[in-house]
Amino acid sequence: MGRIQTLQDLKVMLQAGFEDNEAILARYGLTRLTQLKAYLLETNYPIDEVGCPLGAWSSLDAGGWYVNRGPLSPNTLFLDTTRERVWILYTLLDATEADAVTDGWVKHIKGLDRCWLSRSHLLHYDNKEPWQQRGLGLKFSDGLASDDEAGRFSLKAWYGATEKIPGLAEVLNTAKESFAIYSTRWQKLKEDSVTLAVEWYSNGKVTINRATDVDEVMLSISDMANLYEDALAEATGLRNDGLGAFELNFTQSIDLEAFSKTVAMGRGRMNLWLIETETEPDFRRFKGVDLHTWDRVFLDVGPDFAYLTIPGKGCVNAAPRIATIQGEDNAGRTSIFFDGVEVFG
């Protein structure tokens, strides 16, 4: 495949990869080629203010589509900026490199963030006719506890073989209700054949495990981007129309003392730098900044809930990010509500 200059070139290249993978799968029973990955990114800026993580962006023929050029791994990143708030970064880099490139880009560009998929997003295909759930990943790091006392939990279960173990389904259901889901695996069937197999992650990444039609792949990823963009618009409207707060509900009790110590130093995966402003045995108020964007956040935390207030024009993407990371780190299954109605779902 030569230099990619048009959206059609990109599709042809991806389609060839899918077909080669299917041929290898049919022959050897597993895929060998690097799988397509995509990352949903939340942005507050136009492309010319954000730059490219590998080289420089060059426009494809289709409006809003870019490819990276330059000496470092050219023609490996493809960016769809056709939406205002959610971009899609496609890549065929291997997982380690692709994750590092994306993480580095998001970390260094203020105003660029991942899309943090809620449980509802991750289970979006549940009970939708052509889709079957094929697995899920659960995570609980117990990040506020000391290493000796941490009750960590991590599980990745692929449905199929696991269904042959009596009682395992109940265990999975119990764990699913208590801990945060960080990935779900789905397959789409047409006439009993798998046409698409994907794994979505809570940090907005998707891996295409199998596919037969590039348009079907891109449409499915675009649908998730649209869902997320709608959720962002809804949450921004709620924030702008009043003085209300987002409510996070947890399944695990938070150690408030440990939380307070962690956020005072701006440490931990939550990336919050907060000052405790009111202390009750089972309720604390905090004010400070979200170190990811340096937007102000106010957080009122109870044993199994938190109220998140985002003053000014602070980005509401903080709500799903804090919910997702805190859920996986120390709070278990986390849901976001506004006035009793689930949002980002």
Partner: protein, 309 residues
């Protein structure tokens, strides 16, 4: 309740009555009665067009209302009387449902004061409702009666950090997160005026330039204490009036913890200030005629700087 945050608590506990929470379960009476609210509304008196700026205006399918929030111990009867003449046809400007009738008028306070023939909600630790029989909206009346006695101590913080009437220690508390933002990488810093705008949040458009100037001066005083004492060596004032981190600042957990600790002491522990007369100070300046928010204050209170009227 500490005297320090009375005004913010009054706003927080009143705003919460329009919202709903799962944990602990809480449905505000205005929410229950189907009211949507706005806090930035400029409305006008029917026929004369005189402007009125009630603190909160809200509307539902069954009625509409205005709420006056005050920590002042003087009656708000006159002001609330004038709100009855507001032309409801302009509610549509704020996306609120339009009615033909006069609004229900409510005064929200932290302690009881006679506000004449107007309903009253006392929103200190537990809510108390008074004179609800004056409400024309039966749905709201029942919701308020049902809500009486509910605990209000653990409600979400509101985004407003500063009010025009904030005193020195309240200014410090309102500035904490705004000051923390100054330490972001490649920070251009913030001026005292920017801090005022950010602290006022959604009230910013309602507060006139004169009052903002007075607030700016209070912010400068408190920032001077912070810069020269608690965060000495970490924060400096540039010639253009912006507060910026010094070269000594490095984004490191120990440094962030040190700054957290200093800010906590500045805002929540000590009350060190340059001029002891600032304690409990009431601002008499900055209330020029361009401030559409203040003239009525002067007519209804002996406290001329009172934002809460």
């Amino acid at each position: 309740m500490a005297e320090l945050d009375r005004r913010i608590v009054l706003w927080r506990n009143t705003i919460a009555l329009f919202h709903e929470r799962n944990r602990p379960r809480f449905i505000g009476p205005f929410r229950k009665a189907g009211y949507a609210y706005r806090v930035e509304t400029a409305l006008s008196i029917r026929r004369t067009g005189e402007e009125r700026n009630p603190d909160i205006v809200a509307s539902s399918p069954s009625g509409w209302l205005v709420i006056e929030l005050t920590c002042n111990d003087h009656s708000k009867a006159d002001k609330l009387d004038s709100y009855r003449k507001i032309d409801p046809r302009n509610l549509g400007l704020y996306g609120l449902q339009i009615h033909q009738s006069a609004p229900d008028t409510i005064c929200s306070r932290l302690s009881e004061v006679d506000d004449g023939e107007h309903s009253q909600i006392i929103v200190k630790d537990t809510v108390v409702v008074k004179k609800v029989d004056l409400l024309s909206d039966e749905v709201l009346r029942l919701a308020l009666l049902d809500f009486s006695g509910t605990d209000l101590t653990r409600l979400p913080t509101i985004p407003i950090g500063l009010l025009p009437e904030s005193k020195n220690h309240e200014v410090r508390r309102g500035l904490v997160a705004i000051v923390m933002q100054i330490f972001q990488p490649d920070s251009k810093g913030k001026t005292a005026y920017q801090m005022v705008e950010e602290g006022l949040d959604k009230l910013s458009d309602k507060v006139g330039a004169g009052r903002k100037t007075a607030m700016k001066r209070r912010v400068e005083k408190e920032m001077e204490v912070l810069m020269n004492h608690h965060l000495k060596g970490y924060l400096e004032l540039k010639g253009d009036g912006s507060y910026v981190p010094t070269g000594r600042f490095r984004e490191h957990p120990k440094t962030l913890e040190r700054i957290s600790s200093a800010l906590q002491e500045w805002a929540y522990t000590t009350q060190q200030c340059i001029d002891p007369s600032d304690f409990g100070a009431v601002e008499h300046d900055g209330r020029g005629s361009e401030d559409g928010y203040t003239p009525e204050d002067d007519r209804t209170t002996s406290d001329p700087g009172s934002f809460m009227r």
